[in-house]
Structures are given as C-alpha cells and as structure tokens.
Symmetry: C2
Subunit: 337 residues, 2 copies
C-alpha cells in the first residue's frame, strides 16, 4: 500500500473522475492530498465525506507523497514530475509529455501490465484514442498477430476538456438561434459539424493526435513493425470517443471467434446485433469504465481482415480509469514484493 | 434536345434542387411538368417566374414526356419507371430500385459517361455516399489502378430526407432543454450522437447503405474485383457527407501526384493545408456542386496506399446535381447523333 497519495490536477475534468474512482474502488491509502494550480489552492473538495483543502502544485507538495495520480497539461507535467521523482514519489501520469520517453512504461493494464515491473518512478497512461483501440486490439493480437490497423475516429468534445464541452453546448445553442459564437477550444465551429483535425500538424500531413495513435500503439505492443493509419476527427458529441477500426492479422480470425475473444477480455463489452439496432452508442457508454465493441464484420477488402466499431468514455478508460487501474496494479506489485 | 421534360418527385428535397438546377444551368427544353404524389397535385411551383401546377404521378402523365428526372422512394420508382418507359420517355432515376439491374447504366458523368451510350430508357444515379467516393477515386484509378478501398463515413441528417433534418434540429433543441423527443427518421437519438448504422442489415453484418458503396462502386468502375470495406455512420450534421477514404493502388501514387490529379479533375476541388487549418468542412461544401478533398496523406500502413478526406453536398452531387448532369450528357449524345 502507498500510505500517502496525491491527485495532481484534482479540479480538472479527469481529476474529478479520478477522485470519484478512488472512493468507488476503495483505493487503499492513509492520507490523500489534492494538488492543483495556485488559483484553486485553499478551496476544498469533498472526499469520503470529508472536506480536503486543495494545495498548490509546487516541489515541496511532494515531500510526503508516495504515489501521485496526475492529469495536467503537458507543460505542467514536464515541470512537476521531476519534483515528485526527486522526492521518491511514484507518478502515474496522464499527460502526453512523458509517454514516449524510452525509460517510461506506457501502460494499459489489460494489455501490457508486465511493463509495470520495471520503471523509474513514472508510468504514463496513453492518449484516450489510443487506449480504447489497444484494448480492443489485444485479444485479436494475441490470437492472430495484428500487422496493420486502419482507424477513423469520431471523437467527442470532452477530449478538448471542459472548454470543449462548453463550446459544443453554447455553440449549438447559438447556431439554433442564428447567433454567432466564438469557439475557444476548436478552430472551426463544432455545432452540427465535424472537424477532421485534432492536434497540430506533426508528421507528413498527420496530426499530433494521429501520430499518438501510431507511436503509442507501437510502444504498448512493443512492436515498431505494427503499421497503423489513423484519421482523427472531432464530432458533435459531448463525451465518449467512437472508432471505426479495421485490423489485418497474420492468422485469420473469424467473426465468431473475434466475438468470443472480445467477450472473454476483461474491460471489453460486446454489443453487436445490427438487426436489432444494437451497437455501442456514445450516450450508452457515458460514465462507464469499459470499452464497448460492436458491428464486428469480416473485412470485405482483405482475406485476413476484421472491422468493428469501438466506443469508450474518453474521460474514464481513456484517462481517469486507466490511470487508477495502473495505480491499483502498482499496489498489487508492491504487495507481492 | 428533349422537348418535353418532367421532374418526378418535384416537391421533395432533391426534387426542389433539381428544379433550381434546371433553371440555373438553363437546361434546354420546350415544356416542363412537375409530377408528385396525389396530395401535392393541383398546388403550384414557380419555375422561370411562371407558376406551374403539380400533376399527380400516374401512367398517363408520361404520355407527352421525352425525359424525366426523378427522385422518389424506391417503391415509387419501381412502379412509375415502367409507365414512363412504355411511353418512350427516358428516365434518369435517383432511387435505389433500378441501380443494380444489369441493363441499367449507373452513371457519374465524370467517371463513366461512356455507360450512357447504350441504355434501354432508364439511367440510374448512384447513392450519395457512393457518388462522391467514386469521383474521388477516378483520377487515382486512372493513374494507378485502385485495388482496395477502406472507407468510414460521417453522413448528414439530410441523407434521411427532410424528416432527418427536422429530427436533428428538433432533437437537438429538446436535448438542450432536457426534454424528450420522438425521432421519426432515426432509430436512436442523433442529437449530440453518432449512429453506426444506415439502412437495414444486408450482408454478413454490413448494412444496405454499406453494400451500396460496395456493389455500386464495382458496377461504376465495371470491376467486380475492386475490394471495398465500408463503415457507414450517421453524424449530427445537417447536410453534406464526409468520408475518410483509404485506397491502395497497383502502381504507387505520391501525395504530390495525387494532389495534382485531384486538382485536374473536373468536379473536384482540393482544400488541403492542415497547418493552416484548411480542409473541407460540411458547412463550406453546403449548396456546392463539387466534391471537396483534403487531408491527402501517404498511407502509413501500406506501401501503395493513400488516404484522404472527402466531403460533398449529398443532396447535390450526391443526388440532384448528378442526375441533372446525366440528363445534360443525354442531351449532348442526342445532339451528336
């Protein structure tokens, strides 16, 4: 058990869910502290019925912390993680800053928990769009070795934070009223729209969000030969990311076998009956911790392909839930030592 | 020139645009009649500043018609087309009923105008999601022979007609007000949602909309070996379909060459500068007749692949514009005889 734990970015959208999950899942600890930007310091948050004062994120805040679960902007993570590590605090970090550093394990516990066995104090949780995809890939990869992925995403406003959700709601109200609205989180109007760009230009016309899906997936499966072609698109959905995924495997997997494999994987739920109009919808996956899969079909364009529809709450399994699950595994490993 | 022309389904969303296009494009004719269901008969529509009475769709309505441009439900098309053909009237039909009949040319003029040279009185216009894709495929196919397509769509509410657009608006207003709303055109709420089913189950888990993209594309390119894996998804957009398309060609085509080929193709416009935030958005393609392409990239998952983003007004090039363009080609062919 880690006696003293901290939630870094405790007031944010993901931090709020992390706090809820720590209560719901009875995460073992003696003391907890909530760290956030100085403007939140002094305010209180309720935890297990107690009021806890928020502390400012600064080096000394980690003096007596054993484990921190963090969701902050990249530049904040770049700064605070060394403070924590220097003080012997282990960090589970949800930001993008540390994920691709060679010495940092990038972990989805159902996929590569073994990567947790050796770390240097920091463990990264992947980007939301990557996490649900690698969990969906895992049973197929184990069975037939995935060689190639083509994925198009339908990503929700909450991926751009609370500001994104606010933009979608206020932008939609304005559009319905024929009024102008100044978006803060998106470069184009999201109301009644789709935006085929998430993140900034990164590599040969691909965006940073798209390249995360490539390099993070290769790192998680420890296989740089895994070939992935992503297209990341923002849609007018409040929360939960959807992905249209096609995989090609070395060994052919039938639809029936894929359905069995998905259903047998912890963290995956199958909803797949198109004749009955049943498949994962964002609204049905909201506030759920699992990854939901449906529309499982044989690829009509290659002999060893499968295609399916994958939905998950990007704030939960895509962020908060995965980070807390990593922390739970660290507790288990510590207990087993 | 066809002296006497008719618009069948003249009051519908597509029929309305067909009427506008006939005026804008100065479609040659002497007399025009507007046919619709009996409940519209007797009402009038303005055309070239004149009021024209709508006539009920019945066999005798075609007695003096040389060319009909039609957009009706499939079951209406199944019934009225034989009435027209028996009376020597040529029909350009936008419905799904006749498209796959072996003797019926299925035409996108920029792609396979040659199929118009022999017909038996009826020519079909493809499904909206097919039309924009085959036009985008055409220059790449000519250059490097496409062997495979993987496509995920982001289809607008107007693809489900005026009822779909009404559902999106009223459903969104209700959702913002926390009120219930009974959708008429969709099986699930579309407001702030995505629905990964368009049409009914058709073939091995694929929907009718998805299979249209397969079989219509194969027919248009006259190549049943063309392999296509589609996923058709409805999004909360009023009008214009978007498609994330990946093609694999026999001969490799560079991104630069693809951009040149697209730009040189009549009916295609390239908007492709992700660094400047420029790519086709549904709102920018609304009421335009062209197919818009951006996000052109080398496929990261295969040596001979290209991927891009394709947007078009599904009521125009996806329906009305293509039908009128077919009719214009028929006029040219007739003049050349």
């Amino acid at each position: 058990m880690f006696e003293n734990i901290a939630v870094v970015g405790a007031t944010g959208a993901v931090g709020t869910i992390i706090r809820e999950l720590l209560v719901q899942r009875a995460f073992p600890h003696q003391r907890i502290k909530f760290l956030a930007s100085p403007r939140s310091a002094g305010k209180t948050l309720t935890f297990h019925g107690r009021e806890i004062a928020i502390e400012a994120l600064r080096p000394e805040a980690f003096d007596d912390v054993d484990l921190a679960i963090a969701s902050t902007p990249d530049e904040v993570a770049a700064q605070f993680v060394p403070w924590a590590l220097q003080r012997g605090c282990i960090v589970v970090d949800e930001s993008g800053h540390w994920r691709m550093k060679p010495h940092v394990p990038l972990v989805v516990p159902e996929v590569n928990a073994e990567a947790l066995r050796s770390h240097e104090g920091i463990i990264a949780s992947p980007n939301c769009s990557t996490t649900q995809m690698v969990l969906a890939m895992k049973p197929l990869h184990d069975e037939g070795r995935i060689r190639r992925v083509v994925v198009s995403t339908y990503q929700s406003a909450s991926g751009a934070g609370v500001a994104g959700q606010r933009d979608l709601e206020l932008g939609t109200r304005a559009a319905l009223d024929g009024q102008p609205y100044q978006y803060t989180a998106f470069a184009h109007p999201l109301a009644f729209g789709v935006i085929p760009q998430i993140g900034s230009p990164k590599h040969e016309g691909y965006t940073s969000e798209e390249m995360k899906m490539v390099v993070e997936t290769q790192k998680i499966f420890n296989d740089p030969s895994l070939q992935i072609c992503p297209t990341c698109v923002r849609v007018a959905v409040d929360n939960c990311h959807c992905e249209s995924i096609l995989v090609e495997t070395e060994k052919r997997i039938t639809v029936e076998r894929a359905r069995e494999l998905f259903a047998a994987t912890p963290g995956i739920q199958v909803i797949d009956d198109v004749a009955a109009g049943k498949y994962p919808l964002p609204r049905d996956c909201d506030k759920k911790d699992d990854v939901f899969i449906g529309r499982i079909r044989k690829d009509l364009s290659s002999p060893h392909g499968l295609t399916f529809w994958c939905v998950s709450d990007n704030l939960r399994k895509g962020a908060a839930t995965n980070a807390v699950q990593i922390a739970e595994r660290l507790v288990e490993i510590q207990a087993a030592v």
